[in-house]
Structures are given as C-alpha cells and as structure tokens.
C-alpha cells in the first residue's frame, strides 16, 4: 500500500517539475554573472581555472563554510563513535602479498599525485577538494594493504585544525591588507605560471592537506572499531 501511495505522490511531483522545467531552456544560460566571471576572471584573480577563482575568491566565504562542514563531520563522528565501549578489533582477513607490496609501492605515488593536483589547482582542473580526496584514498589503500601500521589519530586532528586556521588567517590578512575579508592581496603574477594567482595556491594547499587529513580521519574513525 505504501508503495502505491508514494508512487502517486512522486507522479504528482514529476508533473509539477515538468511544468516548471519546461520554462527553463537547456543549454543557453548566458547569465550576466557567469559571463562577468569568464571575462574578468583572469585579470581580477590571476587564476587560469575560472572555477577555482570563483571557489576561492568570488565565493570564498562558501568554501570557508564548506571547510567548516567537513571539520564538523569529523568532530561529530568523533563525538558519536568516541563513546563506544567495545574497542576490540574484529578479525580482518590478512591482506594478500600482492596487496601489501602494491600498497607499499603505490602509497607515496598516490600522495604525490594528490599533492600535484591541489598545487596546480589554479591552472588545471581539480583543486583542494579533489587532491584531498585522492590523498584520503591513498590512506584507504594503506588501511587495506597494511593494517598493522596505524597513524596516530591526533596527527590528523592537528592537520585539520591547522588547515582551517590557515584559511582564516589568510582571510584575516586579506581583511587587514585590503579592507575586505578574503581579499586577494598577494601579487597576481603572470597568468598560467605556477606562482601566479595570489592567495589561491596558498589556500588550496591548506584545503588539500585539511581535506586529505579529514577524510582519512573519518575513514580511520569508522574502521578503528571494526
């Protein structure tokens, strides 16, 4: 009975959506805000990747909120799973030889690849979040590959908080130097070169490390009691 009832409701919503969507043409937005970013993106922020300039400069406050949410997730996880009494480690099938050697061999490369991505955030597609995620998948491989070598939880927490504080400090520096919070006060440099887009690379390094540490921390908290 519940299935039919929910199907009816969803059909009504689909009808509403259809009428609403038919007014919004697909494929020709031409929005004023979007064109402004594309034209003035490079000379105002110095970053070649316009999406990164939006994420960090134009709408930097969103990303600050974003970083807080990730910090919040790891805190919440710690708070909820910290009170678990049974700390016994479950039996994990010992990893096969191929996995351990691959993990020992691949782990540094994955970290380097992740670092490459968030270092070139303003040049090539990708940035802090994607680099951090790749680093976290590196740590995931480490847990699967060699479970006995564990990283102390507090080091993750330290990196997280430092990353967040670095972001805020850069923002406050912008506030003191340029009068606006998160103002791009460093020189823009030559476009399309590594040290070019003012504060954007600095922030993306902080975010990359922070997201990597946080995601790894989340996975570590979840795995720890298994």
């Amino acid at each position: 009975m519940r299935k039919i009832f929910s199907l009816i409701i969803l059909i009504i919503l689909a009808l509403g959506v259809y009428i609403c969507i038919s007014e919004i043409p697909f494929g020709k937005p031409g929005t004023a805000v979007g064109n402004y970013y594309i034209e003035k993106g490079i000379e105002e922020t110095g970053a070649v990747n316009i999406v990164t300039s939006i994420v960090l400069n134009y709408r930097g406050f969103d990303t600050l909120g974003e970083v807080t949410i990730l910090f919040l997730a790891s805190l919440g996880l710690g708070a909820i799973l910290a009170t678990v009494q049974n700390k016994t480690r479950g039996v994990i099938t010992p990893p096969s030889l191929i996995l351990t050697t691959a993990c020992r061999f691949l782990f540094p490369f994955i970290l380097m690849f992740g670092a490459y991505i968030f270092l070139h955030g303003h040049l090539t597609p990708g940035g802090g979040f994607q680099g951090g995620a790749i680093i976290a998948s590196g740590f995931l491989l480490r847990y699967l590959g060699c479970p006995q070598k564990r990283i102390r939880q507090s080091s993750f927490v330290a990196i997280e908080s430092l990353g967040g504080i670095a972001f805020i400090i850069i923002g406050l520096l912008g506030f003191t130097a340029g009068g606006f919070f998160l103002f791009n006060f460093l020189p823009k440099g030559v476009a399309n070169t590594l040290l070019s887009a003012g504060i954007i690379p600095l922030i993306y390094i902080a975010i990359g490390l922070k997201v990597g540490a946080e995601m790894a921390g989340i996975i570590d908290t979840l795995i720890e009691e298994s």
């Binding site: 929910s6 969507i21 919004i24 070649v48 994420v55 134009y58 969103d62 949410i69 799973l81 979040f129």
Partner: protein
C-alpha cells in the same frame, strides 16, 4: 531528436531524485535510506550542473591561448556543486556513524522496529 538533446540531462537528474525519494519513502533499512539520500544528492548535483551548460560550449579554463570566452560554459554552478558534493559526504559520514551506533543499541536497522521515541 532535439527532444533528447534538450531533456536528456533533466530526465537523468530528476530521475535520480525521484528514485532516491522512492527509496526514502518505501524502504525500511537505515543503510538503504542513506544510499537513497546519496542518490538524491547526486541527482541534485547533476541538476545544478545542467543549469549552467551552454550548447557545445567549452570548459571555463584558459589552458591554451586563443580560447573564445563567449563559448565557455557558465562556471558558477560548478563551484556550487563542488561544495554540495562535499556536504553530501559529510552528511553521509554522520548518518553512517549514527547507523553504526543504532545497530549497537538495537541490534537491527529496520526503522519499523526502532520506534521507542514516539507519542
């Protein structure tokens, strides 16, 4: 043919949203509900990106010289989706930790049996 060109992405996005809602409405297991939530989230991200797409536009990155700004896709939705994906992960991690604790307390994840907090 042009119907497909115009509406295929909308069908994909809203299809995902409605299937996710269907899971939320009918399924009992908490983990299945969480999977439903992540599907709704993916659907919404797809919808946001569709809003900014320009017919045969190019990616908003000036990697080479001579890229014509007019044909570039609108970059703002991509910035929003970056944030929204990470929000989805954060909520998902929180939900799964609660599911694990719930399983330790109740021994089951069937939401029709977990009804102590009522009236």
């Amino acid at each position: 043919m042009d119907f497909l060109n115009n509406y295929i992405f909308y069908i994909g996005a809203f299809g995902l949203i409605f299937i996710g809602l269907y899971i939320l409405l009918t399924r009992k297991n908490l983990i299945k509900l969480i999977i439903g939530l992540s599907i709704v989230d993916t659907g919404v991200n797809l919808l946001i990106i569709c809003m900014g797409y320009l017919k045969n536009g190019t990616a908003p990155i000036f990697s080479r010289k001579g890229l014509n700004p007019e044909t570039m896709v609108d970059p703002t939705p991509q910035a929003l989706v970056l944030t929204s994906i990470v929000i989805g992960v954060a909520v998902l991690a929180m939900a799964l930790s609660l599911a694990i604790r719930l399983y330790q307390h109740y021994g089951t994840l069937d939401m029709r049996k977990i009804k102590e907090q009522k009236w």
